[in-house]
């Protein structure tokens, strides 16, 4: 039976608290926090994915003992199948990079500089075979994936994403617990009406339907209000801070993410409805 299809007469039995009751406010706050945390989690996941995609096929050949061996390493790399761009980093650029740590000393001519060669592999290329060929040509060369270098950062991003998802789950559980309390409170408030209904022959389902509908409406209203506030907050944060976009090379949240976030208030309303139904049925079973 459809829990929401009740008559006007049935609706009059349990007067709606509308936005005056605690449930909409509670759900609004929970939804606000949940959407913001979920958005942060999605943004972190997206940033991690963009960084990972950017360095997925990018490697470096590092030759610590001099630039003289660079041509041999470049030749060995280019000879391998699936190797795309091979480009030695300009020593001047290396010196500019080192200047941050060494200051003017980085410009001294006798400062030994490693040779750094950027290598892009095409999808399907075998990095181990390329590394083997380079080491064969230049034994002192290291063939390092950028992904390996960025592994700690990616791991941290993944951990933060998981933390955000965990927080979303915890907020959902807290919401469910609050709904249980609200449902039991509603039963206590309307104890007299329920006793009369039971005495006249109402089934638990008839009683539950009255409350579930109201809780669902309250949860939906609260969820939408909370989601709207969260959406505004997220838009302000994203609009005001382009750092993440700059770092990742893409907006931190896409349309797909927006759809997921918009589904959260609906999920909250659905969760509230089901939790309320279970709580109400259990509470009613304690009575004759």
């Amino acid at each position: 039976m459809n829990s929401f299809a009740i008559s006007d007469a049935d609706r009059r039995l349990i007067p709606s608290s509308g936005l005056r009751g605690p449930v909409p406010l509670l759900i609004a706050i929970m939804t606000f926090v949940m959407v913001v945390v979920a958005a942060a989690g999605l943004a972190l996941a997206n940033t991690g994915a963009v960084i990972r995609a950017g360095v997925e096929h990018r490697y470096s050949i590092q030759i610590a003992d001099g630039a003289a061996k660079a041509p041999a390493a470049i030749a060995a790399a280019r000879a391998q199948p699936g190797v795309g761009r091979v480009n030695q980093v300009d020593p001047a650029e290396l010196r500019r990079t080192l200047e941050r740590w060494l200051g003017p000393a980085s410009a001294e001519a006798d400062l030994p500089l490693p040779a750094v060669i950027d290598v892009d592999l095409k999808p399907g290329a075998d990095p181990a075979a390329v590394a083997s060929a380079i080491r064969k040509a230049v034994p002192s060369a290291r063939f390092v994936g950028h992904r390996t270098s960025l592994a700690p950062l990616l791991k941290a991003l993944r951990g933060l994403t998981l933390l955000a998802m965990g927080l979303v789950l915890m907020i959902a559980l807290a919401s469910a617990a609050a709904i249980v309390l609200a449902a039991r409170g509603a039963l206590d408030t309307h104890r007299g009406t329920i006793e009369v209904m039971h005495g006249i022959g109402a089934t638990d389902e008839q009683v539950v339907r009255l409350f579930v509908r109201q809780i669902a409406v309250d949860a939906l209203l609260g969820g939408m209000a909370g989601a709207a506030a969260a959406g505004l907050t997220i838009a302000l944060i994203i609009g005001g801070a382009g750092t993440a976009t700059m770092l990742a090379g893409a907006p931190p949240l896409g349309w797909n993410d927006a759809i997921w976030l918009l589904m959260l208030p609906l999920a909250i309303a659905l969760l509230a409805t089901q939790v309320a139904r279970i709580a109400l049925v259990r509470a009613l079973r304690e009575r004759l």
Binding site: A9, M197, G199, I200, G201, T203
Partner: protein, 240 residues
């Protein structure tokens, strides 16, 4: 011969771990009978009524209603039996935020009747109890007598097989008491079994065909269990 609508077999009731408030109740009520339940305050009348309208289960013994043993019936089965019983509570138990019309209509709506089937009978019943012009009034704005009449209308609107009334004339004037008794008698003549808990001797005297159930200290003052005391007859000594 009419069948048995209520049967108690050594029924006892206690609340929590307290002493038994009803002990060894052993009686049968026939279908279509009119019964008065009397006894001093604290004798257990309200507890017996609670058993009869299925608000309590006996703590021991066997209890049957409408031919079905219900002392251990699953609670899911009880609403169906409750719909066959109309109850007039002493404290009325009207829903305060509903109009008199909605209060009276409640049993019909709970039983699944549509609005088209509700409107006419409820208006007719309100008119019968003299509240046609108070249909939209809420209980707090009604007098005690008016609330009692709404409670009676609610109890009988769905034409229950068993009507249980706890002091139904306690808050109305003599004329209205007579009308209420007339309604209950009329329903009884149509086959409804009526059980009225009352201290009103006049009410008992005005119903010559009725039988008397007398409780004292949780015991039925009728060792035979046949309830053959006509109103006005001297009551027997309490059973041991």
């Amino acid at each position: 011969m009419a069948g048995t609508i209520v049967e108690f077999d050594r029924v006892g009731l206690r609340y929590g771990t307290g002493a038994e408030v009803l002990r060894d109740l052993d009686f049968r009520l026939g279908e279509g009978g009119f019964y008065f339940l009397t006894g001093p305050s604290g004798a257990g009348k309200t507890s017996l009524l609670k058993l009869l309208y299925l608000a309590q289960r006996p703590t021991r013994g066997r209890m049957s209603l409408f031919g079905d043993q219900l002392d251990h019936a699953p609670r899911e089965a009880l609403p169906g039996y409750r719909r066959r019983i109309g109850v007039v509570f002493q404290d009325f138990r009207l829903i305060r935020h509903l109009s008199a019309f909605d209060n009276v209509a409640l049993p019909l709506r709970i039983a699944g009747h549509g609005e088209a089937e509700v409107e006419g009978p409820v208006r007719e019943m309100l008119a019968w109890v003299g509240l046609a012009d108070r249909a939209s009034a809420r209980p707090p704005t009604l007098s005690g007598g008016e609330q009692q009449r709404v409670a009676i209308a609610r109890a009988v609107i769905a034409r229950p097989e068993l009507v249980i009334a706890d002091e139904p004339t306690g808050n109305v004037d003599a004329a209205m008491a007579e009308r209420i008794l007339h309604l209950l008698t009329a329903m009884n003549k149509l086959g409804t079994t009526v059980i009225v808990a009352t201290h009103d001797v006049g009410l008992i005297a005005a119903t010559p065909g009725a039988q008397l159930i007398r409780l004292e200290n949780g015991l039925l003052v009728d060792p035979t269990g046949l309830l053959r005391h006509p109103p006005g007859a001297p009551s027997r000594a309490a059973a041991p």
